[in-house]
């Protein structure tokens, strides 16, 4: 037996979940295929930033897209509360990059100025130590200054993921777990997905399968050259609130836990943790917040970012098999607002506006001269 849908979204993470809900919200009959616990679920291991500053240096379209997503996040958050009763704990309080040396501070100032020139002024400004201290009194002596962007924020990524799935179900969409897609038979606007003995047919297919996208994309005439980049995270016991702002290395959740991270390791499909990286993460964050030195760590984990060659997202419609779309990025939380409320309607309309041209993977094949 074959179930037929308007749209099949392959990938049950934050990217696929946001797009699937966004499609269903516009009235489409949607199937969301989730591989299962054998997958390298980036959406189960991420940090939870809705982060704008510094995104899209060298690619103004990405900077604009990120900014747009941060602007759409409150609407997404409200829709999730309405559809599922879930509080995704969105706090767009602004975000800070702490700099621990004058060299770091100068590099960050250069980046802020460059992005201001390339992509417009989004309010990011450099702060000296005294200004930072007035905002975050607990910073350590090693913090010489930082960059503050009022657009940044954070949210609970696990609640967001669950809320997207519940909201999809509430709209009559199908969430199909343990569906590993073996093969896709493609024709323009007609796709048959084979999952074990089961087949699912849809007029549109969206490949949002994280690291699995590299294998699936060519089946529908798409190109998604993604690779893993490991990040390790540690989480402390719950502490009294001391940090309301988002930062790229440390954030305090609504419940008081402190998440520490921002490591980058090219180690293939390996989700083990390592003492030396945890030590680096702890060491840097203790410099930023000395009182974390005696905080008890209650959990650690590693997860794999889904990275394109330049780190920017890929969105494209297949030329060979129209109706097939690609969507991948390493910022599933940040971009959830845009994926649900801007990308999904374009996919349903059947064509991506010219704005998305910059996100085509053709950029990886351009001649150098």
């Amino acid at each position: 037996m074959t179930d037929t849908y308007d749209c099949a979204v392959v990938g049950g993470g934050l990217v696929g979940g946001a797009i699937a809900w966004g499609l269903a919200r516009q009235g489409a009959k949607v199937a969301l295929l989730d591989e299962g616990d054998i997958a390298f679920r980036a959406a189960r291991g991420n940090f939870g930033l809705v982060w704008v500053q510094g995104k899209g240096a060298d690619m103004p379209a990405y900077a604009q897209w990120t900014l747009r997503s941060s602007e759409l996040w409150p609407e997404l958050s409200g829709a999730m509360a309405e559809a599922s009763g879930a509080d995704v704990a969105l706090r767009q309080t602004g975000g800070i990059v702490f700099c621990l040396s004058d060299a770091e501070l100068q590099r960050r100032a250069d980046l802020v100025e460059r992005m201001h020139n390339e992509s417009g002024n989004i309010g990011t400004r450099m702060l000296d130590r005294a200004e930072l201290r007035a905002m975050v009194p607990r910073i350590g002596d090693a913090v010489v200054g930082g960059a503050y962007c009022p657009r940044d924020g954070h949210a609970n990524p696990l609640v967001t993921l669950r809320a997207l799935q519940q909201a999809l179900l509430a709209l009559g969409g199908a969430y199909l777990p343990n569906r590993s897609v073996d093969r896709i038979d493609a024709a323009p606007h007609d796709f048959t997905l084979h999952c074990g003995g089961e087949t699912i047919r849809a007029g549109k297919v969206v490949i949002a399968a994280g690291l699995g996208s590299a294998r699936l994309a060519p089946m529908v005439g798409l190109d998604m050259p993604v690779k893993p980049l490991r990040g390790q995270i540690m989480v402390t016991e719950r502490m009294s609130p001391f940090l309301d702002y988002a930062t790229h290395t440390v954030r305090q959740t609504a419940e008081g836990s402190v998440m520490l991270g921002d490591s980058h390791e090219d180690v293939g499909l390996d989700i083990s943790t390592s003492a030396n990286v945890m030590q680096e993460i702890a060491s840097r964050n203790i410099k930023a917040f000395p009182h974390l030195a005696d905080a008890t760590v209650v959990r650690v984990w590693a997860a794999l970012r889904v990275m394109t060659p330049d780190g920017h997202p890929i969105y494209e419609q297949s030329q060979r098999f129209p109706g097939a779309f690609s969507a991948t990025c390493h910022s599933g939380v940040t971009l959830a607002g845009a994926h649900a409320l801007a990308l999904a309607p374009a996919i349903l309309a059947g064509s991506l506006p010219a704005f998305f041209d910059s996100f085509s993977p053709r950029r990886f094949h351009a001649q150098a001269n």
Partner: protein, 96 residues
Amino acid sequence: MLKRIDPAQATLRLMFEGQPLAACPGDTVAAALLAGEVGAFRTTPVSGAPRAAYCMMGVCFECLVEIDGVPNRQACLTEAVDGMQIRRQIGARGAA
């Protein structure tokens, strides 16, 4: 509730919220608190709800108490020691 098989073996003296509490050598702090029927071990950081030991194997973090001035200790993973000063963990530990 919980009764000791042989109360005479409870030779250790702990202090819980300033009151003496007996424990057997080898007891965890959580076992001693349960046997002493102290009620709630802690209140939660989010809603302030009262909680006590649940899993007794280090997983659920419901049994958090302050031991000898150190906050958020897992009572079920800490062996009772004569003279230990134990207090309820009220909400989140301070950021101090």
